[in-house]
Amino acid sequence: MKTNTIKMAAILLASTALVAGCGKKKVEQLPPAAEGTDYGQTQTDPNAGAGQIVPGSQEDFLQQVGQFGDRILFETDRFNVDAEDQATLQRQAQWLARYPNTRIIVEGHADERGTRDYNLALGERRANSAKNYLTSIGVDASRIETVSYGKERPSALGSDEQAWAQNRRAVTVTVQ
């Protein structure tokens, strides 16, 4: 049962990561709408009208934490949480405090300019850095799962510094 939930969440967050795209420290545009994902089945009331966001849902989370507030970014081969990242994670923690039964998965990612196995290890480090900070400011560790995708799921698709900067990330996704 637990496994199923996690698996479903993993599938969901895969599509979320794709759709959300384009995250970077200096935000220039909103993430595109979650069109084409299957949020409907698990996250929103099927009777709710279009554009109506259900409190506590993934969409609500994304809206409340602000533009790209679901993710923190890292320098090459680094996994430290800097002041800007702390502010981002604090907003996430505030939202999580309002929905104490909601669990999250923190995805750790690396850019394509690393070897596969090392990037899996690096993604683990980044996801755990975010998790550790969240727990240090009061989020119960039992609510947080981590998963590393290494370089397998880029958010930005270019092969340049800008794209790599966006891909070195830890993304928080709610488990609904």
Binding site: I6, A10, D117, Y118, A121, V147, S148
Partner: protein, 453 residues
């Protein structure tokens, strides 16, 4: 009975009595890197001309793999293709060469072949036995000397005719270069399709020449980093099937898989020990990755080999199983380290510029292949003490070398800048004869298995 071993013994015997004449290159090649001239014993710059006419089918008969006359031509094609792909030979035939009569197989018309500037001649026959199996005879002649160099016989079920061809090519390659064979072997890899942001990655296997390709997983969950067991019965690989990266052992015949260790932690970078009894893997606990080993039988307890608070990952056993080469960023960046198989005596061996990753110990023990990251990613080799560093490739991103079973050829995968498309390539130890391996779709994470028995 299919009996490669019987025929192998026969072949060894024949080699003993017949193979007195060696045509190995007598002079060492000019080494690009003068401090290590002993690395290359054969001269790939001087190709030898080999003719491979279609094998004769004395009494053509139908088999489940086609008529034996057609098989005679196909076997010659595979032999010719193997030898050509090795980079050591120029081959002629079977296309463009005349048909051979059965008596010629044991009594070649040397003057005719001399007239075609052929140095070596491969002839043979295919016979369908009463049991339905094929007997493939394979003869190698030195045209200049006008004598037989070696002969071999293989008895195979028709569906395995390609293996007889590979065994024949292997015997010729070994005889003429003095190196160990490698054609009759298999490769596990990851077949890739789809756009860069949503890549579908499937476990797949194929022969060393790309034939007999088979997808193992359906692509619903991402598969990565496969490794054939030394006996080819199972494959270690990483799958996200339960949502998290974990290593499974896939049993090829049974079509089932199991986790290598029951743990909620992610496991990755699997490798077999040379005897297939032990599995090496990396596991992240609370974000910190270390290297572990566990018995391959599924009942053992994991043994932790590294303890540094940095990333220790990957690892590859030396052929004698006594040492492990691995990568670690404990110095501040990815570098290559060697330790004893029990984790003791860990020491850094890479000190060049840039980062070093994915070390892989050669089955010949003499070298370690790796990915060097200094701007671009290139595949290189160094001795186990870190000396004699040599880069073999030069591209935007070449990664994850794997050794041919004879330790003379290296496969790796190449990622294209921008598109992220991947392809499998191989290169020999001199850095020459680089070529792409044919795969039905994009390919990455190649893993070369041993020569089949």
């Amino acid at each position: 009975m299919t009996s490669f071993s019987f025929y192998r013994k026969l072949a060894s015997f024949l080699l003993l009595i017949v193979g007195s004449h060696s045509v190995m290159a007598q002079t060492p090649p000019p080494a690009p890197d003068t401090d290590e001239p002993e690395l290359v014993e054969f001269d790939t710059s001087k190709t030898r001309s080999i003719a491979v006419p279609a094998l004769v089918a004395p009494a053509p008969a139908d088999t489940p793999a086609g008529n034996s006359a057609a098989l005679g031509r196909q076997i010659a094609e595979v032999i010719s293709s193997d030898l050509r792909a090795s980079g050591v030979f120029e081959t002629q035939g079977p296309n463009g060469l005349r048909a051979i009569a059965l008596p010629e197989v044991t009594a070649p018309q040397f003057d005719y072949w001399k007239g075609r500037t052929v140095e070596q001649l491969v002839q043979g026959f295919v016979r369908v036995g009463g049991d339905g199996n094929l007997t493939v005879g394979c003869y190698l002649y030195d045209v200049g000397f006008g004598n037989e160099t070696t002969r071999l016989g293989f008895n195979v079920p028709p569906r395995e005719w390609r293996r007889a061809a590979h065994k024949c090519a292997d015997a010729i390659y070994a005889k003429l270069t003095g190196e160990l064979p490698f054609f009759d072997s298999r490769i596990a890899y990851i077949a890739e399709t789809g756009p860069k942001g949503k890549r579908v990655k499937r476990l797949a296997i194929m022969d060393s020449d790309g034939a007999n390709h088979r997808f193992i997983t359906n692509g619903q969950s991402t598969a990565l980093t496969p490794r054939f067991s030394p006996n080819y019965k199972s494959i270690l690989y990483l799958s996200y099937v339960d949502g998290n990266p974990r290593i499974y052992v896939y049993d090829i015949d049974a079509g089932r898989q199991r986790l290598i260790t029951q743990s909620r932690n992610p496991t990755f970078a699997p490798r077999w020990s040379p005897d297939g009894q032990t599995i090496l893997y990396s596991m992240a606990v609370a974000g910190n990755t270390d290297i572990y080993k566990i018995s391959a039988n599924g009942n053992g307890t994991p043994v932790k080999l590294t303890t540094s608070p940095s990333i220790d990952v990957g690892g590859s056993f030396s052929p004698d199983g006594r040492q492990i080469v691995f990568e670690s960023d404990r110095s501040g960046s990815q570098q290559i380290y060697v330790m004893n198989a029990d984790g003791s005596n860990q020491r850094r061996i890479s000190f060049g510029s840039g980062r070093y990753a994915t070390p892989e110990w050669s089955p010949r023990a003499d070298l370690i292949a790796y990915t060097r990251i200094a701007g671009d990613f290139r595949v290189g080799t160094m001795r186990p003490d870190g000396s004699g560093e040599r880069l073999l490739t030069d591209s935007w991103q070449d990664e994850a070398p794997t050794w041919a079973p004879n330790g003379r050829v290296i496969q790796f995968f190449r990622t294209a800048k921008g598109s992220g498309k991947t392809s499998i390539w191989q290169v020999d130890l001199t850095g020459s004869n680089e070529r792409q391996l044919p795969t039905p779709v994009d390919g990455s994470d190649p893993a070369w298995g041993p020569v089949l028995p």
